[in-house]
């Protein structure tokens, strides 16, 4: 039972962590684009 719970838990943690990471990168790039647009 514990192996099943661990497998499903790690799967969701992995997916959630990657989506959070993508979101953070997206926000950083948008900020960067805005800053560059202001500089020009």
């Amino acid at each position: 039972m514990s192996y099943l719970v661990a497998a499903y838990l790690l799967l969701w943690i992995g997916l959630f962590a990657y989506l959070t990471h993508l979101g953070a990168r997206l926000r950083r790039l948008r900020d960067e684009l805005r800053a560059l647009a202001r500089e020009r």
Partner: protein, 237 residues
Amino acid sequence: MIPLAVATAVAFLAALGMIFLYAPLEAVQGIPQKIFYVHVPLAWSTLVAVILLLAASLAFLWKRQPANDRLARSAAEVGALLATLVLITGSLWGKAVWGTWWTWDGRLTSTLVLWFLLVGYVLYRALAEGPREQTARVAAVIGVVAALDVPVIHLSVQWWRTLHPQPVVLRAGDVGGGLPGSMFATLLVSLAAFTLLLAVLVLARYRLAELEDEVEALWLRPALRRAPAGARTAPVL
């Protein structure tokens, strides 16, 4: 993108419902066998991601279009994530059923080789310095080499008969015949959910790659290149 994400969420809810409420308990392995319904679809999505990587890499080497490079690096990064999850879920299933976290079995070892190649691709893209075109070309070659491992993984259980089971779903002339109907139906719904997830992740990563290229193009424009010393430096994307 949003309708696709909603469809993915619905497919995952349906898959989880079927896994825990509909699919029967396997007689020998018991509860740990339910790892099968995520492990196999994860492996399937990894292979689809690598086939995407191969197609995009070959298209880039042929046409040199940035869109193909963006697709290749998106597929490689998502493929690396999925391959990691395949190894983790497989290891947990192996411990529950075989009594070991890892064994140097043909299928496991060839999957680990693919993981190293995909992680190597992602690290190379993150750390390589030099002209973008040259980096993309070298990465495309790494992508093609990674894809060469896919047939090895597929055939490994026939070439080296060790611990990993023979195919039960994709047997020649008998698709799904190795499983009871309810287990096969559950697996199909889970496969659909993970295929949709792959599409959502690759699309989201592709959008990010477009932004990365936009930012880099802005940095490379002459007005910004002539920025005085001490001004902001180009970010590592």
